[in-house]
């Protein structure tokens, strides 16, 4: 079933994200799907609901500032480098975007429940806190059917589509990532009903991924679209490829802060760029190749033990008589 799912960012978003969809927003403080975020804004997708545990560098803030988001289910939203998410703050105040807060493990458990295909999971946190009071959509208190004690239950989150950035993918849609098991990406992505859109730094042959399947976070059957997209998480970091662009996150944050200024950022960096390659080209024009070069990571942290998956051929037993001794009756 060797169908190539390689396509442009534009095709992937227009084909697979519909107005009103629930989106699993991948990444955490690093590996934020920024290129896909920009494309969703460019295509003016509307009334999206996002589910994720925590997200940084203002990616979700831009998506809200772009008018794309109706509801956010999350534990933590930030552009840590300006210590706020201003567009989210304004949208909440203006009641154009609703927020449904839970704790990080509440969010992880909600995604895990979606991954497991069960309606909810019990969690220790949230009880006694205002999340429980203000977010009855996602949280409630139930009785443990075995002990009778009270415990928080969190509703399963299942996105329609997951958007993630990864280091490596193949054309079939196998996604390989390393350094952490994708934070909650493996559950958020696998729980998605229709599937996953992935941007990747590198595209490799399927044999490369199949030679090390432990590192596969999303297998091809869940993947809708694969986009080759170097710097796709910028300004957040991509493990092994580039570090966090603190200066650009701060620069972007200063635009997020001011409702009058944010459209100028959108015009220049989102609508003014045909795709992510154009965004990076603009970055180099404006801030110099040396700024991009500054993001090079310290490498050399490679496995020291070469694993071999190996297998055994049971055919070697063909014709070999049963082992026996005097205690075993024929």
């Amino acid at each position: 079933m060797a169908v190539s799912k390689l396509m442009t960012l534009k095709e992937a978003v227009s084909k697979f994200i519909k107005d009103g969809d629930t989106i699993y927003y991948g990444g955490f403080q690093i590996m934020v799907p920024m290129a896909i975020t920009h494309e969703i804004i460019r295509q003016k997708k509307r009334d999206l609901t996002t589910v994720e545990s925590s997200t940084d560098v203002g990616g979700l803030d831009l998506l809200v500032g772009g008018g794309c988001v109706k509801e956010i289910h999350s534990a933590w939203i930030m552009n840590w480098y300006v210590k706020a998410v201003y567009a989210v703050r304004r949208a909440f105040q203006a009641k154009t975007t609703k927020r449904y807060d839970v704790s990080n493990f509440g969010a992880t458990s909600a995604l895990m429940a979606g991954f497991l295909g069960v309606p909810f999971l019990p969690v220790h946190g949230n009880i006694g806190a205002d999340m429980l009071k203000y977010n009855p959509t996602d949280l409630t208190v139930i009785k443990d059917p075995f002990s009778g004690k009270e415990i928080t239950a969190v509703r399963a989150w299942r996105a329609d589509v997951a958007i993630i950035h990864a280091q490596v993918a193949d054309k079939l849609g196998n996604v390989m990532s390393w350094g952490t098991r994708g934070v909650t990406d493996e559950f958020g992505a696998m729980g998605a009903k229709r599937g996953v859109i992935v941007t990747a730094e590198e595209i490799v042959e399927p044999e490369v991924i199949r030679a090390d399947p432990d590192r596969t976070v999303v297998p091809y059957f869940k993947t809708l679209a694969v986009v080759h997209c170097p710097w796709g998480a910028h300004p957040s970091a991509c493990r092994g490829y580039y570090g966090l662009d603190i200066r650009f996150s701060q620069y972007q944050g200063k635009y997020e802060r001011d409702p009058e200024l944010l459209p100028k950022f959108m015009d220049e960096w989102v609508f003014g760029c045909e795709d992510h390659a154009a965004f990076i080209k603009k970055y180099v024009q404006k801030f110099g190749q040396e700024s991009l070069d500054r993001l090079k990571p310290k490498l050399g942290y490679k496995p020291k033990f070469q694993v071999d998956y190996g297998f055994h051929d049971p055919g070697v037993w063909k014709g070999v008589p049963q082992f026996t001794d005097e205690y075993i009756k024929a």
Binding site: F28, Q29, I30, M31, S53, S54, D56, A75, W76, I77, M78, W80, A84, V85, V88, R89, F92, Q93, A94, K95, R99, D101, V102, S103, N104, F105, G106, T108, M112, V123, H124, G125, N126, I127, G128, A129, D130, M131, Y134, K149, E150, I151, W178, G179, T180, R181, V183, T184, D185, E186, F187, A237, R239, G240, G243, L244, I246, P297, K298, Y301
Partner: protein, 257 residues
């Protein structure tokens, strides 16, 4: 030899690190906690085990300064690189000694707000910050909680605007009634001093004030009626050696200024 030239943040980090014991499992949130744990591991707590929400489990300090809880540095030569599910599950299993968090507001029972200020039910009045992140889970489940907060009358308040992270809630017995598995807050380190909690009343009291501060100055920067320990002392300043080690951890002053 005590250092004479150090920044307030440096004093805070060094003082805070002393609340971590060797061999403990410490779950560190984003921001200053990440520097504090690196400092503790480099000094008196070499056998501390670091957990982060990003999925890092490590017995050694990261090779570079970690800015985020899923920072690539946390996974270079880490002991295990799981995801958020695996590290936070250890909280629920009761395996974490210290939950180490920050926040925007704290009350006398150690309840913390990191969600926002205003009245949440009237959105136009509510200024959002970040949200719970893992703070709520850490505070619910860790054996004890260590909090680091800037001292400000708007931050040390009678009642938090939004209760994101449970301290002792409304007083003695409240955590137990809700079945919380963790012990609650034990120490708050601010930019002016150090607080502990009374075992009977569950209320915060001032245990130490920093050099150059006083009980009166701390009280003036706290909006609730602050209890002061009869044994309140001035905090011992950091040593020259401690400051040198700390500055090597954050050579560009990302955290320390």
């Amino acid at each position: 030899m005590h250092a004479t030239n150090y920044k307030l943040t440096e004093l805070m980090v060094v003082r805070c690190a002393k609340e971590i014991n060797d061999n403990e499992v410490v779950f560190a949130g984003v921001g200053l906690p990440l520097v504090v744990v690196s400092f503790a591991m480099a000094t008196h707590a070499p056998n501390m085990i670091l957990f982060t929400e990003g999925g890092s489990i490590r017995a050694t300090a990261p090779p570079g300064l970690a800015i985020t809880v899923d920072d690539p540095a946390l996974f270079c030569n880490g002991d295990a690189t799981f995801g958020m599910l695996s590290t936070m599950a250890a909280l629920q299993r009761g395996e974490v000694d210290v939950g180490f968090i920050g926040g925007a507001q704290i009350d006398k029972y150690g309840n913390i707000n990191s969600t926002g200020v205003g009245d949440w039910s009237k959105p136009e009045t509510f200024t959002y910050f970040a949200g719970s992140g893992g703070a709520n889970d850490m505070a619910t489940c860790s054996k004890r909680v260590l909090a680091i907060m800037p001292q400000d009358p708007k931050k040390f308040v009678e009642k938090v605007d939004y209760l994101t992270t449970p301290g002792f809630l409304d007083g003695p017995g409240a955590r137990q009634r809700l079945g919380m598995i963790g012990g609650g807050p034990t120490v708050v380190v601010s930019t002016m001093g150090v607080y502990r909690f009374d075992e009977k009343t569950c209320e915060m009291y001032l245990a130490e004030y920093y050099p150059g501060q006083s009980v009166e100055k701390v009280k003036a920067n706290c909006s609730f009626d602050l209890t002061v320990s009869p044994d309140v002392t001035e905090t011992t300043p950091p040593t020259e050696e401690e400051i040198t080690i700390l500055r090597n951890i954050d050579p560009t002053g990302f955290y320390l200024g």
